[in-house]
């Protein structure tokens, strides 16, 4: 990476969006590095479907690139929050189109060819988490993912889901309780005692 790349790394996402809109190629790489994992994780946990999550994340990033041309650095929206909002809507559309609001991904997240025990365990954990998340109503699921996996604040989640902050607090609290209940009995399988 050249000097320009190192200089850009110090910039916030909003500034990188403006630079991307002005044609700076290095901004695309940095924004992808920072934001694509968020979009992918959000979609993967809510959909419980890795392929679907990839489609949603890619589509959300396309919309981000298109929005960059008119992005205002001094605007209220943060690129990460904006992107989560797009992902939230895309996953809702996808769930509704497929006629399911709850469906677990029984897909193996671990690569069977890898044979690595740690990876298998991580895959098992993700699979169990997705199954437990899938038992939650859609809004609770999104709120729990955004709060506990993506680390968004309650006001940010309220913005993403277009609801009040109090509703977010209620959703995350109830969602976490439901998750714990759903995972009860799987302690050994998930390595709780390790």
């Amino acid at each position: 990476m050249g000097q320009d790349g190192r200089d850009l790394e110090a910039l916030d996402d909003g500034t990188l969006m403006v630079l991307f809109g002005n044609g700076a190629p290095e901004a695309a790489r940095l924004l992808t590095e920072r934001l694509l994992p968020r979009a992918f994780r959000h979609a993967a946990r809510v959909l419980g479907d890795r392929d679907g999550a990839e489609d949603v994340a890619q589509e959300a990033m396309v919309r981000l690139w298109k929005a960059a041309a008119d992005w205002r650095k001094d605007g209220a929206a943060q690129p990460a929050t904006w992107l989560h909002k797009v992902v939230a809507n895309l996953v809702i559309d996808r769930l509704r189109r497929s006629g399911r609001s709850v469906e677990i991904g029984d897909q193996e997240f671990a690569d069977p060819a890898s044979g690595a025990e740690a990876r298998l365990q991580e895959g098992a954990r993700l699979s169990a988490l997705d199954q437990a998340l899938a038992s939650l109503p859609e809004r609770q699921r999104q709120a729990v993912v955004l709060r506990h996996i993506e680390g968004l604040s309650n006001p940010e989640i309220a913005e993403v889901l277009e609801i009040g902050v109090e509703a977010v607090e209620s959703l995350t609290a109830r969602g976490k309780r439901a998750l714990k209940a759903a995972l009860e009995g799987q302690k050994e399988a998930l390595g709780y005692d390790t």
């Binding site: 044609g23 190629p25 695309a28 990839e54 690139w65 954990r125 988490l129 009860e184 709780y192």
Partner: protein, 125 residues
């Protein structure tokens, strides 16, 4: 649910959240997103490198008119020499050039009229 069990469940859930935070998109998706970015990105606005135009001072104009600093050096040397010839006594100047310059023998009397001749007109002062 006891407090210990609750804490244990919290820790277990946190472990699952950690695993979820480590879940990353694969290289194929990253590559596709970067291709999309390239297609969507406007061409980089060309940076116009305008020549830096500095205001020229009056001295620079004079120097240029005279043919540059090399020429100015020659003019300056000639000026100093001329001034010296005017200031110093003829004998001194003749001494500088060893009595000859360009094959011409300088005779001081030939160059400098006797001041007395200027003051005298018809033997009158």
């Amino acid at each position: 649910m006891t407090r210990d069990t609750d804490t244990e469940n919290d820790a277990g859930l946190e472990r699952l959240f950690d695993a979820a935070r480590d879940d990353a998109p694969d290289a194929g998706l990253v590559a596709r997103v970067l291709v999309d970015a390239e297609a969507a990105q406007p061409a980089q606005s060309a940076t116009v490198h305008r020549p830096v135009v500095r205001r020229r001072g009056w001295l620079a104009g004079v120097v240029e008119t005279l043919g540059g600093w090399g020429a100015v050096g020659g003019v300056t040397a000639a000026g100093i020499m001329g001034l010296s010839i005017g200031l110093y006594a003829p004998e001194t100047v003749v001494d500088w050039v060893g009595g000859e310059a360009l094959g011409v023998q300088f005779v001081s009397d030939d160059f400098t009229p006797d001041m007395a001749d200027l003051w005298l007109e018809g033997d009158d002062v």
